[in-house]
Symmetry: C2
Subunit: 236 residues, 2 copies
Amino acid sequence: MEIGKNIRLMAISTSTVYGSDFLVYIRDRIADFIGEKQILFIPYARPSGISYDDYTAKVSQALASLGIAVRGIHEFENPAQAIREASSIFTGGGNTFLLLKTLQEKGLLSVLKEEIEKGKPYVGTSAGSNLTGLTISTTNDMPIVYPQGFDALQILPFNINPHYLDPDPNSTHKGETRETRIQEFHVYNVQPVLGIREGSWLEVENGQVVLAGNLTARLFRQGATPVELSPGQIDF
Amino acid sequence: MEIGKNIRLMAISTSTVYGSDFLVYIRDRIADFIGEKQILFIPYARPSGISYDDYTAKVSQALASLGIAVRGIHEFENPAQAIREASSIFTGGGNTFLLLKTLQEKGLLSVLKEEIEKGKPYVGTSAGSNLTGLTISTTNDMPIVYPQGFDALQILPFNINPHYLDPDPNSTHKGETRETRIQEFHVYNVQPVLGIREGSWLEVENGQVVLAGNLTARLFRQGATPVELSPGQIDF
């Protein structure tokens, strides 16, 4: 499975880790990675139903100390043009179905994909990282709106499960574990699924995928026992 | 919101409660409720990807001690006819997207709805209970397959969230809580959502909805603070 050598992408499990504020643990790395002092923010996933303005302001505040100027895509009359003219793009988390449906309705998926494939730096957290895989079918979110299909940006040749969570051996809850859900996915889908724990992220450059952060990630392949991958380059 | 007086339905949060085997805590009540010694089982939700045969055998074993004969709908050449001729119906849990898509593809949703509206007893656990509401959009499952819309049987004039789970005050996980997800649902959807905890179920008879079991359920209305409902009749 080849990944274009131009692609520069961060797929981050979560915007926020326990005991820390929004983006604080990862913002220095984002700033280094994009290498620019401005970023176009896509707030369509609307976590907790927050407005586009409020979500953009939240990101802007979190990145202000690094001198990064944030503009929300909703502030532009022509969002496709905003994507084309941006120096880098950040898609925030929230509801993945809503994010995908909004991008579909505005006709922005193909523009976004083109720009990423040309080498424009892309940063996604949670739903925004899920979007970089083949489909959104390994999201943890509720299907609060009905998108036209589940196909995602298909930059990465696998699916991402953000906020990956290990089974809790002390749990008394009988709902499915994350692992069980992904195994159900593999009854009907062939692509690998990478479960990325909170605090981990992928960096994609030079055609390589690197697992960053201190934690292992869990790789699920159809018909195989899941394996733990250590930080570093991932070979698919 | 009126519910037809003919409808006889059990919508059960979970097939299995902690510390007990499959269906054991609820099977006596199911037997009393259906008042028959036979039931048609719909195994389409395939929990953990189990086969239709294996899932049906599991249910059959669980109900054998009560003298209830279980037939799987997949054993019949004409599944619509099997639904029409059944004395009662049981839809098991698993993946809600898969359950809905399979019923859609086989053209069985309308038949099932008609028979339930005529008064045929229906029992659903987890995905099978989610199916009785307006849409499946408050499922907890992964969207492993793409159904043609999210509309459910629409027997109940609200949505169900089975396996309802309270936020864990000690959790270090930053993924959305169940309550946050349902609040996101209400940004785009008007119908009430009833979160039913494991060990609880709804019994619908004589146009009334009764919350059974020992636990409260959590009712979410658009734009309102969620409320806890005690066991007993629910007024919507």
